[in-house]
Every structure is written in structure tokens, then in C-alpha cells.
């Protein structure tokens, strides 16, 4: 563990925490432009968080301590996940303690706590949201795992930095298996981050809502933590995608401090393109009925498994 590794590690955590709301703001901005609306500021999510931190929190009478604990747990899981995804550099000391499978486990822990918290107050919307979130999760989680497996089989390890390094150093070629999994991953990203076509982050009080339904009883600082965690989740998913499919530009051991400095603008560029792409997808597609969501995700799961089989058949 060198000093550079520690710097990379801390930089990644700090960047993720600070930049995640901006990424969300950027996606919202792009969406607004595409829909011919005047866009909110890039900093709007920060204003939102500041506003929430300045408000009193109201807890339902029968909210238990689990309800108060959950925002911090969900936030903690997202930060831990951000710490092991090689978004800027591959020299991450923490990633020895948690590989790709553990990453999926961390995300699952966050989901379980979020769902349990949603059930805690016992409102109709809360349990509905929890049920739907788990419905999306039980297909999205194995699909994500399969996506990671393809990358893991190509680079013969489940450690994320090693996967990213392995894919960077290989000759630039189109892997058919990765093409399949990239589509699967995009679908998982949309579903897991409550994006159209599975959920719509912009609406409340719609009978089809999933993520927002779970947060209805939260307010003040608790809501702020949950919103921040959601922004971090989107950021994390984007970075997982970069690490698996476009890992170029991440700083490696050999790059040294200049490599790390260079990695920052590269990441910003990737995020800008990915955010715009996400906005385009969201603008072009229509919201699915809730019961079409399992079909959507089953497609993602099968595409990922197909990618795995293609990898084994072609042996690339």
C-alpha cells in the first residue's frame, strides 16, 4: 500500500460524495434541454440537500429506530461501494477487502434496509414501494452479478481494479460477450436507479412509483441522506459501467501521480457523456407498466447470461 494508493482511495471517496449530486443535476439538466424546458441549475441537487438539512425532521408516531437508522446505513453502503469501484485509479487498498461479488452484496444490503425502512411506518404507499423495489431487485441483482461474471471470466478475477486493469491493457477489440453485457448493464442501471422506463424520478403520487414511494415518510435530514445516497448510487452505477466497459484513462500503478491527475478530467468527460446518454434514453422511452418491469429485467438477466455463454463459446 503506497501513499499514492491511499491518496487515490481518499480522493475517490471524497469525489464520489461531492460529485454525485452534480452528476444527478447534469442528467436532469440534459433531460430538461431534450424536453425543450429551461433547465434547472447543475447545482440544484445541492440546493435541495441544503434545504433539507435546514428543515425540521418529522417522524411518524410509530416509526421505530430502524427507520432512523436506515438512511445512514444506506448512505454508508453507498460510500463503501464508491470506495471499491475503480473510477479514477486502480490502486484502491479497500478493494482487496471487497471484490465484485461483495459490491453486489453492499448494494443489496442498502436495498434491503431501504425496503425495511419503507415498511416500518406501515402506510399503503410504503409497503407498495418496498414490494416493488424488491421485485425489481430480485432480477436486477443477479443480472448485475452476471454482468460482473463475464468481465471476471475475461480477466480471471473478481477484483474490480484488476478487471479494469486487465481490460485496459488488452488490445482494443470488440468483445461480443461484453456487447451483450453492456446492454444488460444499461438496463440494470435504469431499473436500479429508478429511471424511466421502470420508474420515474420526476413524479410523485403516481400509482406506478417505486423509489419515491419508499421515501414518502422521510423528511428533513433523513430525507437528505436518502436523496444523497440515491445520487451516490447513480454515480456508482455509472462508474461500474466505466470500469467494466470503458476503463481507459483510469490511473494505474504505472501512471503515478500524473496519471491520477489526468484521471480526474477523464472521469468528468465520461460522466458528461454518460449523463447525456442516460437523458437521451429516458427521453426516448416510455414508462412501462409496473408488471412489465420483470419482463424488462428478465431480458437483462438473460442477456447477461447469454453474454456469459458467448464468452465461453468464443473463448475471448
Amino acid at each position: 500500500m503506497t501513499t499514492l494508493d491511499i491518496v487515490t482511495q481518499l480522493l475517490e471517496i471524497a469525489c464520489a460524495m461531492l460529485a454525485a449530486p452534480a452528476f444527478l443535476g447534469w442528467v436532469n439538466q440534459c433531460r430538461a434541454w431534450l424536453q425543450n424546458r429551461s433547465a434547472p441549475s447543475l447545482l440544484q441537487p445541492y440546493y435541495g440537500l441544503r434545504k433539507l438539512f435546514h428543515k425540521d425532521a418529522i417522524l411518524a408516531d410509530n416509526a421505530s429506530s430502524l427507520f432512523r437508522l436506515a438512511p445512514y446505513v444506506v448512505f454508508g453502503m453507498m460510500v463503501a461501494a464508491a470506495a471499491i469501484i475503480p473510477s479514477m485509479g486502480t490502486g484502491l487498498p479497500l478493494s482487496t477487502a471487497a471484490d465484485g461479488i461483495a459490491l453486489v452484496g453492499l448494494l443489496a444490503t442498502a436495498r434491503v434496509f431501504l425496503s425495511l425502512a419503507a415498511m416500518d411506518v406501515g402506510t399503503a404507499f410504503g409497503t407498495l414501494g418496498a414490494r416493488r423495489e424488491m421485485m425489481v431487485g430480485f432480477l436486477a441483482e443477479p443480472a448485475l452479478l452476471m454482468v460482473l461474471f463475464v468481465a471476471a471470466m475475461i480477466s480471471k478475477t473478481t477484483s474490480l481494479p484488476l478487471i479494469a486493469e486487465g481490460l485496459t491493457t488488452r488490445a482494443l477489440a470488440l468483445y461480443p460477450s461484453l456487447a451483450f453485457t453492456a446492454v444488460a448493464f444499461t438496463m440494470v442501471l435504469l431499473a436500479e436507479n429508478a429511471r424511466i422506463p421502470v420508474d420515474n424520478p420526476a413524479t410523485h403520487l403516481e400509482l406506478t412509483m417505486i423509489h419515491e414511494a419508499m421515501l414518502l415518510e422521510y423528511s428533513g435530514r433523513h430525507l437528505a441522506m436518502m436523496e444523497w445516497a440515491a445520487a451516490l448510487k447513480l454515480f456508482n452505477y455509472a462508474c461500474i459501467g466505466f470500469a467494466l466497459f470503458i476503463p481507459w484513462g483510469t490511473s494505474t500503478e504505472a501512471g503515478g501521480p500524473p496519471g491520477l491527475l489526468l484521471a480526474v478530467p477523464v472521469l468528468v468527460a465520461k460522466l458528461a457523456v454518460a449523463g447525456a446518454g442516460l437523458a437521451v434514453i429516458e427521453t426516448l422511452s416510455a414508462k412501462l407498466r409496473v408488471f412489465r418491469a420483470p419482463e424488462f429485467l428478465a431480458t437483462a438477466f438473460l442477456l447477461a447470461v447469454l453474454g456469459l455463454l458467448v464468452h465461453l463459446l468464443l473463448g475471448d
Binding site: 425532521a57 408516531d61 463503501a80 399503503a124 473478481t158
Partner: protein, 665 residues
């Protein structure tokens, strides 16, 4: 006589039997049988676990006991495999016994003394199953285990459903036992020696070895609850008192896994790699079938029983994977898969016990097993709720608890299977990994439903407001098992270094390298993959604490309490929450073809509209009912011979005589 671990273990089993018999001194006294003898049983359990862990690295010990039939004494033997399962038995049963001390009440079915006898005989017989070294001792112990657990299941024998559940259990246990007996019969290989040593020495042809394996898979599968032999499990587990359910699900099912491992890797001198595919396939089917049925249950103990089927499926998947790797000569990967299997057995013993005992406390506090009449118990029973949450998170396979470790190991074994010589197996294994991943995710769904519906939300019945938390002793038992879940989750390297001894013994592989450091799990077989739960947990804990403290320091606002907002809806009541049926509805919808569903839908003109859905097991209607019908038909045919008139019977004798004469002459 010098000290031997084997003798010490036998002494513990004897002590259990003695404790059981002591219960009969004052069978009606709950104070004596329940409150005095059960803690002694727990101490024996701890002693057994300590002995087993200490003995696991020591050489094999054997002895011949002076009991049994003349000329057929009991042979016993303790090796690393037996030690590993003895540790499981001791460790899990200690927690369950502590809990039982506070659990059993007066007027619940059988007399306390009788319960104490059955319970401790059950424990002792499970121990003897693990130590037996000849078919005779094994079958005696196996049958004692089946019978004592049958009596425990039917503790409340005045209820007809419980009697029929017990009957089903007994029936399938015996069909399985016959298969095991036949398997031993094949394995003695014409030597007519029924000691396990003779079986190890016998060289069977590959055909006979396959027959022996098939019979063992059937017999032990019936005990373990492998689909399609699982039907007794969702009936027997809810019928039994909760500590007994915990013992059966947590420990007894594992004796079947032990039996299969013993037969496959120890008694049979050679194995075929494709046996593994059969076990793997059955395991995956069980895991999937179990978890989707768990998701639609409305009875909390039945839900857990189906979840046990899922976990047994995952264990058998691991066994199958081990056989495949062993069969094609990939030692390190076989060791990885075997360690994953054993680890999952150990994990399941702890986490499922926590959950079953948690339901026991809920049942005592509320008198309800139906999820639709529970809710909001985290306020009334905080201890039980938080300790159960540990089991819930563990069984959902979430880091840093123990369920995740075995899942991680199993997925690594699947992932690095790449070099199996048979190409189609190479293609099949990743699909298996996909099924395991799907089942784990579904287990998360099931557990959110289980915990959310019982402990969270608003109480669905007014009577729940009177629910009381479990007593101190019960909390202690739950905490013991919960700590087991946490410990097994945070210190995988230490556990695996121990389990590796079993792998070395069974698979004849050299010692594997499992850890990068004392806190870092890094199996050499899984290249470059590592998992350090302690570090991960530490970092997450620090982040959570910093976030909470940071917010507290910055945040200048107060926290109020108020009525739930619910989008401004003011007439919120408990009936608006999801029921257990409602929460399982997406699973019913997505996996509809697997369920046998009967829906009763209201019409718009019903005065009192009613919606009802019942979910049945297709295997029961498609396999068991026709089978039962056939048996009945054959029995009816045989019954026709029975005319009840003396003249007819004389005619039978006469005809028989004529036929025999014709044959002889």
C-alpha cells in the same frame, strides 16, 4: 485409559441421554425438566463443540462399543468430517437448548419430562449418527433420530393436522431409510461385512457404485428435503414446537448432508463425475423451487421451512460441484466447493435457528403464526426483533454476515470452473451460477417479507398491543446464535482453515492456501479474489458513524413526532398495509406456471366481495396423489384375497399345495 476425543464426545452423548432420562424422574415438573435439565443440555452442547473443534486436526480415532447385538457391536470412529458436524451440532444445539429453557410452557401437549427425554435423545442420536462406523450402528442411530423427532413434532398430538404432518414425516423418513439401508447393502460388495471399513475396502464396479450413490442420494435427499422429496418439510416444521423446528431444520437436515458426503467421498472407493451433475441439478431445482414457494407463504414457520428447502438446495449444489471437480481431478477447486458446502451447512444451522426461535417467541407472545395477523412487533418485542434481524440479514446473503461468505465461496467455485474437460459442463456451470445468484436475490425478497410483515408496520390485530418481549433466557439463546452468525461472517479465514482439514481428509488434496492475512479471505483456487469482511465492516461502520455524527453536529433542527404523512391521506389504518399475500404477489405473478393457484375473485355485484387465493404444490398433486392412489389400488387388489370365509382360505391352501406339487414333481 488415556484421554481420547472420541471417548469424550461419546461421554457427552451419554450425558445427553442421561439428562433425557433424568427428565422422567419428575415428568410433570416444568421447573425440574425445563428449567434445570435444559441448561445442562446446553452445557453439554458447548462441551461437544469445544471438543469437536479441538479434535478436528487430530488423527482419526476408533473404538468398538460393547453394545449392540451379540457378534455385532457398535463401531465408532471420529475423523475431521465427523468433528466438523459435531461442532455444528454442539454449537447450534447449545443456543437452542438455552432458548428452550425459557420456552416450554405448561399445558402445551406432552409432559415436560417427556419432552426433555425426546429432545435429548434426539440430540444424542444425531451425535451417534455422526460417529457411527458401521451400517448397523448408523441405522440404529438414524432411526432413533427419526423416531425421537417424530415424537417431538407431534408434541401437540391432539390437533389432527399435526398428527397427519407427523405421519407424512415418518413415512418419508422411512422410505428414505430403506434406500439408505439398501445403499449400505450394495456397498458391502459381497463381503457381508457391514462395517464402514469393509465398505471402504470393497471395490465396486462402476455400475454398482452408481446404484449405491443413487440410493444414498435418494435416502439422504429424503431426509434433507430435496425436491421432489421435500413435501414433509413444510408440514412438519410448522407443526413442531419452535426449538424443535430449529433443531430439525438447523441440525438434523445437516446429518443427511453428512451422510451423503460420507458415502460419496469416504465409503465409495471411486466416483463418477456425472453424479455431481445429478446432485447439482437437484440442488438447483430445490433451491429455486424452495425460494419461490417461501415467497408466497402466509404462515411464518412454513415460510421458513420452504427457505430451508432452498438452503438445502444450495448445499446440494455445492456437493454436486465438489463431485464434478473431484471426478475430473481438479483438486483445489473441489476443495473450494466442499469448503463452501460445509460453510453453508454451518451458517444455515445458526441463521435458521435464530429465525425459528424468533418465530417461537412471536408465537408465544401473540399466539399467531399467520403473517396476516402480525405486524409492528419491533415496538413490543425489540430484543427478538433486532436479534431476528441478524438472522434475516445473514440468510439473505448480505455482507458482512455469514450467509454471504458461503455464497461468495460457492460463486468463486462456479466462476473458476473454466477448465473442466467436458465442454458442455463448462457451459452448464455458469448457468448454475446464475440460478444460485437468482435464488440468493429471491432469498432477500423472502426475508424482507418475513421481517417486514412480522416486525414492522402497524399491528394488524388489536391484541398485538399486549405482546411482550421474550424472557432473558430466551434472549440469551437467540443472542448466542446471532453471535454465531456474526462470528462466522467476520472471521472466515479461521473457520475455513478448520474446514480445510475436512477437505484434505475427504478429497486427499494438499493443504490449500485460504487467507492472505488473518483477516483476509483469499483462496488460492480463486485467483486474485479476496474478501476481508472485518475491514469492510469496519469501514462501513466508520462511514455510518461519521455520517450520523456529522449530520448531528451540523444539523441545528429538531426532530418532531407526528402522524404518518401517507401523502396527506388521513384515515390510515393497519388494513391498508400489504398483507403477506400482497407482498408475495409479484412472485406469484412472475413465476405463475410453477404454482398451482386457485383464485376466488369477487364480481362487481357481490354484496360482500371476497378475494381469496390458495397456492398449492404441483408436485404434491402430480406425483404424490397419484402415487398414493396407486398404493391404495394395489392394497385394494390384495384385499380382495381376504374374503373372511374359511372355505376360501382352505381353497387357497389347497391350490398352493397343488401348484407346489406340480413344481416339485
Amino acid at each position: 485409559m488415556s484421554f481420547s476425543y472420541l471417548n469424550a464426545c461419546l461421554a457427552v452423548l451419554l450425558a445427553w441421554a442421561a439428562i433425557g432420562l433424568a427428565g422422567m424422574i419428575r415428568p410433570r415438573s416444568l421447573e425440574f425438566a425445563g428449567r434445570t435439565l435444559f441448561p445442562l443440555g446446553a452445557l453439554c452442547g458447548i462441551a461437544l463443540a469445544v471438543l469437536a473443534v479441538a479434535s478436528i486436526a487430530t488423527p482419526v480415532e476408533r473404538a468398538v462399543l460393547p453394545i449392540g447385538l451379540p457378534g455385532m457391536p457398535f463401531h465408532v470412529r471420529r475423523d475431521a468430517l465427523a468433528s466438523a458436524f459435531l461442532a455444528l451440532l454442539g454449537g447450534a444445539s447449545a443456543g437452542i437448548s438455552i432458548f428452550s429453557t425459557g420456552y416450554f410452557r405448561k399445558g402445551e401437549g406432552a409432559l415436560p419430562g417427556l419432552l426433555c427425554l425426546e429432545y435429548h435423545v434426539f440430540l444424542a442420536s444425531m451425535g451417534l449418527v455422526l460417529l457411527a462406523d458401521d451400517a448397523y450402528a448408523f441405522m440404529v442411530a438414524w432411526e432413533t433420530m427419526a423416531l425421537s423427532s417424530y415424537f417431538l413434532v407431534t408434541t401437540q398430538h391432539r390437533i389432527p393436522e399435526i398428527r397427519s404432518a407427523g405421519f407424512l414425516y415418518l413415512l418419508i423418513a422411512h422410505v428414505g431409510a430403506i434406500a439408505i439401508l439398501l445403499s449400505f447393502g450394495v456397498m458391502q460388495g459381497g463381503s457381508w461385512q457391514f462395517t464402514f471399513d469393509a465398505m471402504r475396502a470393497a471395490h465396486l464396479s462402476s455400475g454398482w457404485a452408481t446404484v449405491a450413490f443413487g440410493l444414498a442420494l435418494f435416502g439422504f435427499g429424503a431426509k434433507a428435503g430435496l425436491v421432489p422429496l421435500h413435501v414433509w418439510l413444510p408440514e412438519a416444521h410448522p407443526a413442531a414446537p419452535s426449538p424443535v423446528s430449529a433443531l430439525m431444520s438447523g441440525v438434523m437436515l445437516k446429518t443427511a448432508v453428512y451422510g451423503l458426503l460420507r458415502v460419496t467421498f469416504d465409503l465409495l472407493s471411486s466416483l463418477q463425475w456425472w453424479w455431481g451433475l445429478v446432485a447439482l441439478g437437484l440442488g438447483l431445482v430445490s433451491a429455486f423451487y424452495g425460494v419461490i414457494f417461501a415467497a408466497v407463504q402466509t404462515d411464518m414457520k412454513r415460510l421458513l421451512a420452504w427457505s430451508s428447502i432452498e438452503n438445502i438446495g444450495i448445499v446440494f449444489t455445492g456437493v454436486g460441484l465438489t463431485i464434478v471437480f473431484r471426478g475430473v481431478g481438479m483438486g483445489p477447486l473441489a476443495a473450494l466447493a466442499l469448503v463452501a458446502t460445509l460453510y453453508h451447512c454451518l451458517n444455515h444451522a445458526f441463521m435458521k435457528s435464530v429465525l425459528f426461535l424468533g418465530t417461537g417467541s412471536v408465537l408465544h407472545a401473540t399466539g399467531e403464526r399467520n403473517l396476516g395477523r402480525l405486524g409492528g412487533l419491533i415496538h413490543r418485542m425489540p430484543w427478538v426483533a433486532w436479534l431476528t434481524l441478524v438472522g434475516v440479514l445473514a440468510i439473505a446473503g448480505l455482507p458482512p454476515l455469514n450467509g454471504f461468505v458461503s455464497e461468495w465461496l460457492l460463486l468463486q467455485a462456479f466462476l473458476f470452473a473454466g477448465d473442466v474437460p467436458q465442454t458442455f459442463v463448462n457451459m452448464l456451470l455458469p448457468v448454475g451460477a446464475a440460478v444460485v445468484a437468482l435464488c440468493t436475490a429471491l432469498a432477500g425478497y423472502v426475508m424482507v417479507k418475513f421481517f417486514g410483515v412480522i416486525f414492522l408496520g402497524q399491528p394488524r390485530e388489536a391484541a398485538l398491543a399486549q405482546a411482550h418481549d421474550a424472557g432473558v433466557v430466551e434472549r440469551l439463546g437467540l443472542a448466542w446464535l446471532g453471535l454465531g452468525c456474526v462470528g462466522l461472517g467476520l472471521f472466515p479465514v479461521q473457520v475455513i482453515d478448520t474446514l480445510d482439514l475436512v477437505a484434505r481428509e475427504l478429497l486427499k488434496v494438499p493443504a490449500g492456501r485460504w487467507g492472505g492475512a488473518w483477516w483476509l479471505l483469499a483462496p488460492a483456487a480463486a485467483r486474485h479474489a479476496s474478501y476481508g469482511p472485518l475491514a469492510l465492516f469496519g469501514v462501513t461502520l466508520i462511514v455510518v458513524a461519521l455520517a450520523a455524527l456529522g449530520v448531528r453536529a451540523v444539523y441545528r433542527r429538531r426532530v418532531h413526532r407526528g402522524p404518518a404523512w401517507d401523502c396527506g391521506f388521513v384515515r390510515l389504518d393497519a388494513r391498508m398495509q400489504d398483507t403477506a399475500e400482497g407482498f408475495g404477489q409479484p412472485i406469484r405473478h412472475v413465476f405463475e406456471p410453477f404454482f398451482q393457484m386457485q383464485r376466488e375473485l369477487p364480481t362487481p355485484f357481490d354484496a360482500a366481495p371476497r378475494y381469496r387465493v390458495t397456492v398449492g404444490d404441483r408436485i404434491w398433486t402430480l406425483l404424490y396423489l397419484p402415487l398414493g392412489g396407486t398404493v391404495r389400488w394395489v392394497a385394494d387388489l390384495v384385499a380382495r384375497l381376504q374374503q373372511g370365509r374359511i372355505a376360501t382360505y382352505l381353497l387357497y391352501s389347497f391350490v398352493t399345495l397343488i401348484v407346489l406339487l406340480a413344481l416339485v414333481l
